[in-house]
Symmetry: C2
């Protein structure tokens, strides 16, 4: 059990950590900091912590574990702000979706004696804010830690135990490898989803093409990840540019081949691809990372039980 | 109530019609035809109908309503096959995802006195086969009818009542308009999903990039529609080529703009798009075409209730 946990930022992820840590008894005291008074008041109304601050520096004082849960674009200023208030021996971590950039902008402000171990829980929903969090969010999901060279193995073990206490499986890798893997498993899928929803929004606006009315024919699946937090995702694309452009390039090459198959009517090529992609979902379900229920288990028939 | 309903094809859609029609008492007798004996045996084991045939021509005899529920690529041969066995005054319909092509290949075989009214229920899951269907599938979903010029208004009213009996809302439009709307709400989303899952499958195979392991970070959403029936979707892209290429062109134009915004680091452009797309999902939820539950209501924490 940690004496004092400080969460800097209390949106979907921060508030889920707070709830999960409370439920599992992972910290005696939970300090919460967020810049906006309104958000802080909401966190307090929800009873997410024990101490509430609008100043991150005030929140981290005496904390054994500090986790940055704000958008990545705010990290540099936050690191500068808290640098002088971090307790010697404390662990500083985060939950950002990119890791190389985080190492670059935070490291210069980490005082000697503080263990900086960047992290990224691969979990979330399309909802945002303190009320969107829930204690189960991290259960059976991966949390990736990207410790810098020479990081204390005791500190890594402690942070690993913390995430396991929240229900996560923990994996360690380099920041660069993390950013490349996440570019294709997360960042490019989000970019593509944002893009197709944007294309459709234009059509809806200019041609009354009834896309919202008929969205259940496939389109609505894309709208979930395209409803994710705009500021968070802006920062992802600003800070993982090279890996995103590399993976987007691969996606576009493949799409050109597929576009040509449609144009020339190559049914064999289409059927081969469509059969192959079906097996990928089966692998994900077998790996315990997806529900086997049809249609994600969405309610059908106004929530009445299906036959 | 219809005296005799004949379903030609008994996959996800056909079997859902059978179950829904049975539950709502829409037909006295349900005849089921499918080419493969194994599939027919499964349908019989499931008790989906009253009569079972491997010959479509045998199934449609004396039927008042005949619905083609096979992949669109099989329609021409089926229409030719059943042409001489259709009862005068019968309604012939279908559930295919494209409509102009269906009108082109089926109409020549529709005898005088038979009412041909193509249809398309905008409902489905990623699962296939007779056991994948359920009676609630069409509830609160749109069914689009695309009657040809001069179609009997009595026959249209009867088919409309049938789909309303299954829980659907019914809309009538031209085959051409249907194909353009579905190209962007369904066909291009499926193409893009198939493509990104294919790109990722290549990476998984060649670089062990751990995409399945970390799929919950966004990618897995795409795998659902990319797990849809391969033959059905092959036929969609073979038979709605022009509309798909037109809408894919728009998608690619927009993606070029977005790719450039990432490359030059235009945070304002990114945030503006990401904010706009968020409102589209809210509209779809408000229109009753999507669940408001976070993450599609997927189970979290091994199915335990969320806090």
């Amino acid at each position: 059990m940690i004496e004092k946990l400080a969460l800097i930022g209390i949106g979907l992820i921060g508030s889920s950590i707070a709830r999960g840590a409370r439920r599992a008894g992972l910290a005696k005291t939970i300090a919460i900091a967020t810049r906006r008074q309104e958000t802080l008041d909401e966190a307090e109304r929800l009873g997410l912590g024990d101490q509430y601050f609008t100043s991150a520096a005030d929140a981290v004082r005496d904390a054994d574990l500090v986790i940055l849960c704000a958008p990545v674009g705010a990290y540099e200023a936050l690191a500068k702000d808290i640098s002088g208030s971090l307790k010697p021996g404390a662990i500083l971590s985060d939950v950002g979706s990119v890791k190389k950039h985080v190492v670059d902008v935070v490291s210069p402000y980490v005082p000697a004696g503080v263990h900086f171990i960047p992290g990224h829980p691969l979990a979330g929903t399309e909802h945002s804010g303190p009320s969107a969090g829930f204690a189960d969010l991290f259960e059976n999901r991966w949390c990736v830690l990207t410790p810098v060279e020479g990081a204390s193995s005791d500190a890594i073990a402690m942070l690993t135990a913390f995430w396991k206490g929240l229900g996560s499986d923990v994996e360690t890798m380099s920041p660069e490898h993390h950013d490349l893997v996440l570019a294709i498993t997360s960042h490019v899928p989000h970019l593509v989803a944002y893009n197709i929803v944007g294309t459709v929004a234009d059509l809806e606006e200019h041609t009354q093409s009834e896309v919202i009315k008929f969205s259940a024919s496939g389109f609505r699946d894309f709208t979930r990840i395209a409803a994710s937090d705009p500021v968070m995702w802006r920062d992802v694309f600003l800070t993982n540019r090279e890996a995103v452009l590399e993976m987007l390039g691969r996606f576009l090459e493949d799409l050109s081949v597929l576009q040509r198959a449609v144009r020339i009517g190559d049914g064999d090529a289409l059927e081969t691809l469509f059969t192959r992609t079906r097996t990928i979902r089966r692998s994900i379900i077998a790996a315990g990372q997806e529900t086997a229920a049809p249609d994600f288990g969405r309610p059908h028939g106004d929530g009445k039980a299906s036959e």
